[in-house]
Symmetry: C3
Subunit: 177 residues, 3 copies
């Protein structure tokens, strides 16, 4: 494994420190830094969350792109300009599923990731570790989200899980079966 | 630890790749392969999930037994016929709790696992890592399920957790206290 | 890392065996043992859970202090009297948030932990790994809880996560980025 992997996935629960971990991994790369935000600030709570992330990241050296839907396109047109930090796949999937079947979009994202020459750090959530949701839509989102995570983790060079702010390495790993 | 442990537990969240991981572990064993399904196809959504699993597994070399309740009996009568893949304990516990106290059934399952001569790969879920459910029945299920997982993990030779499709080894492990 | 770290954090899901793990870590220390319970037995279900924990711990060598709110004070006045087991931060945060902003209380707790001369084993929960709660209060609790966990894990010498009754070491760890 090289010191600077090309595709890194950072997963974890809510408030587990995954964005901060992803930022520290991205900051380890040389050259330009591009933050690809998938969030849409559709209410006050979300606007506040976005503000918190922006404040922590600071403005030095980061350029921000808002891309709630066409992640594959945003990756293609920024390749060669430095490390990209995508935060996060969960909101992106939620945006994409609001408009139809997510499968083709997830496959397009994976092809785009696979084609990148410059590094990408991608943030996602683990959200299938609670009790089965009573809401059918939540169950479907949980399914699609889990399949998306598997697909992206499958092509990533490194995968980390943040737990209580601490990094746990999932890939590459010693002792896999 | 031998290359082929006798009792393997695979846990993980929803859509974390735990069934595929369990299948790859089971496929590593020589001889016959028996799939013990605990699911009852009581609605379309469940029928579809069962179909997905069956399609991935394929038909080559697998014999399927449906046993929603008497897992201990199914293990006893298939011992000596090859590796058994039990998928999954969560649905089994749900079936068992629909009829009364689960404690005696969990203890009978553990005794049956302990008595096996042929290998068994058991799939379960981690479902206690979300917010406390508002529903008292869900809280009770979460409690009983956690105790079941602890009991089975305690007698298993190997325990794996699937996260975003990646295997994380929990037992045996270096660095335990 | 010394054999007996000063501050140990044990996290995990519901019924994951985290209290039993914390007790076994605390029992490894010499001298007096003080159990600091943050639970208030406000209903039958909670009274039963408290009773289960007390029965397992036994009475030999353990002194129990009930402190639902002022954890920093309880740690300060018991320092020098042996190992303290705090069970758990989740209920404490819930008690604290019922009365106002948790931030100052979490910071006071972290300062108190940092100042301890005798060892402390602290139990918390991972609860951000399920689907986003529909309830705004639950989302806020999840956020504050995650930030608390990150703060305490940051100053802890050792952090463990219990999964299906098995310990997974998060800190210190090999292979962190």
């Amino acid at each position: 494994m090289s010191k600077h992997p090309r595709i890194t996935l950072v997963t974890g629960g809510a408030r587990s420190g995954k964005s901060a971990l992803a930022e520290s991994i991205a900051a380890d790369h040389e050259g330009g830094r591009i933050y690809i935000a998938t969030a849409e600030a559709w209410d006050d709570e979300m606007a506040q969350r976005i503000g918190l992330h922006r404040d922590r990241r600071g403005s030095d050296g980061w350029r921000t792109i808002e891309e709630p839907h066409n992640l594959a396109g945003a990756l293609a047109r920024t390749d060669g300009q430095g490390v990209r930090l995508v935060d996060c796949l969960t909101l992106w999937l939620s945006n994409v599923m609001a408009e139809g079947q997510p499968g083709p979009h997830v496959r397009a994202l994976c092809r785009a990731l696979d084609a990148q020459k410059s590094p990408v750090v991608v943030v996602t959530n683990e959200l299938g570790l609670g009790i089965v949701p009573e809401n059918a839509l939540a169950r479907r989102f949980r399914d699609e989200h889990g399949w998306m995570n598997q697909a992206v983790a499958g092509i990533a060079d490194e995968v980390w899980m943040a737990v209580s702010g601490l990094p746990l390495r999932l890939k590459p790993q010693r002792g896999t079966p």
